[in-house]
């Protein structure tokens, strides 16, 4: 009587059969931001059996304006951890698989092959093209959503014989022609509208209910709630991709490499020589620090020259926030060095090596 999904299983076009198909479904959501969160929250609520989560960012203040899963106390935490916890609390029956990485040319085929439907909830072109090409190679449908200001796009690419992302946008725009990574901003509620529409497409693909938005690009204009659809066709060249490109541009919008505290600890234990900059204040540093760390507080970073003999430099702070900023600043100043931000910072390191 109090069946959890009774409000939807009662629907003639969905029913218990639809629910059973959701339970069997495996969906990977790439990106835990404005689009990925509503997709995950609704699919989890509705009873999709297996959900894959992939992201490596931490929760930042400017995320809160549209990423409604996060609370203020989550600032600085790994998105992956926060989302995993909240989704489990929301529906303990869902199998949640976490992928603590960004999507790369190296891992894309391995990860994506395990899922039935992929959701493109990223914020940058390189990852969108990588998702497209991987899905074409593996013959997986992917549900696309993207935003610009008050506008949004939704479509389902590579669904059965349907067209792909490259059938509308054959080549990746160069970085100076179209703003990347939300540089242009987005009204907070727009990703909610687009993300929920993406979740609906996932449900239609998994259950076979209704008409999948394949071969049509939905254009939403938030200023007047106008919804248009553009029809487009498959271009066989784009359906015949057999391997990934040699090169997709850096995936992380903020272009900072990162390393988990655990992996960093393994490197420390390997005995290799490490260059580690701790960007906390002198006081914090004096309270506790890793023995190989060199202290350069964040606000002094621009005055202190870095020895360019280093190939790799790790950067740490208390939680991973200031070190991210520092790594970004250093990466711009010293392009010949590779900087890694240590995720979770001293907070995580203290747990690993108390």
């Amino acid at each position: 009587m109090e069946h959890r999904y009774s409000r939807q299983t009662v629907l003639r076009d969905f029913g218990e059969a639809g629910q059973a198909k959701l339970t069997k479904g495996k969906v990977l959501v790439i990106g835990l931001g404005g689009l990925g969160l509503p997709v995950l929250q609704y699919l989890n609520a509705m009873g999709v059996g297996t959900l894959g989560l992939m992201d490596q960012d931490v929760v930042e203040l400017h995320n809160l304006q549209r990423q409604i899963l996060y609370a203020e106390r989550d600032l600085g935490k790994q998105k992956l951890d926060v989302v995993h916890e909240k989704l489990h609390e929301q529906n303990s029956s869902t199998i949640l698989k976490t992928h603590d990485t960004f999507l790369t040319k190296e891992n894309a085929l391995d990860v994506i092959q395990n899922y039935d439907v992929i959701v493109d909830a990223t914020d940058n072109f390189p990852t969108r093209y990588l998702i497209n090409d991987t899905c074409v190679i593996l013959n997986k449908p992917f549900v696309y959503g993207a935003l610009h200001g008050f506008e949004g796009h939704v479509s389902v690419f590579n669904y059965k014989d349907g067209p792909t992302y490259r059938c509308i946008y054959p080549n990746m725009p160069s970085s100076d022609e179209v703003p990347n990574c939300n540089e242009n901003g987005v009204l907070g509620v727009i990703p909610g509208i687009i993300g929920t529409m993406q979740a609906l497409e996932v449900v239609k693909i998994l259950t076979g209910m209704g008409e999948v938005l394949s071969g049509k690009l939905l254009l939403f204009n938030g200023l007047n709630q106008h919804v248009g659809k553009i029809a487009f066709k498959s271009n066989l060249t784009n359906k015949n991709i057999s391997k990934l490109q040699e090169f997709y541009e850096p995936m992380d919008c903020e272009a900072i490499l990162s390393i988990s505290a655990k992996d960093f600890q393994s490197i420390r234990e390997s005995g290799d020589k490490i260059t580690l900059i701790d960007v906390r204040t002198i006081k914090e540093f004096n309270d506790n620090h890793l023995k190989e760390a060199l202290n350069i507080p964040l606000n002094e970073l621009s005055q202190k020259p870095i020895d360019e003999i280093n190939k790799v430099i790790y950067v740490i702070c208390q939680s991973g926030q200031r070190s991210k900023k520092a790594a970004k600043q250093l990466q711009e100043a010293y392009p010949s060095i590779t900087f890694y931000n240590i995720l979770g910072g001293m907070n995580k390191m203290m747990v690993l090596c108390p």
Partner: protein
């Protein structure tokens, strides 16, 4: 003919629609294909020329560069967008 603008094209033009004259009163050549329309618009808004991956829809269908256009067609410029 009226052109609907999306994404960065709207920002470049500063409006969500654009009107293109369909008589040659101004002496300028009237665009007869999608490609000519892009060139025509690029003269007024040079930043549009930078868009290598600009989709154009004619009457709600994706159109290739050589597709013919008429004054009564509904045209939309739909550049890729990246936000998420």
């Amino acid at each position: 003919m009226t052109i609907l603008l999306f994404g960065i094209t709207k920002d470049i033009v500063g409006s969500s629609t654009l009107s293109v004259p369909t008589s040659s009163a101004t002496g300028r050549r009237i665009p007869r294909t999608v490609k000519e329309l892009k060139q025509f618009l690029g003269e007024t808004y040079p930043e549009l020329n930078k868009l290598s991956s600009l989709a154009v829809a004619v009457n709600n269908s994706y159109a290739t560069d050589d597709e013919a256009i008429n004054s009564y067609d509904e045209i939309a410029l739909i550049p890729p967008v990246s936000g998420g």
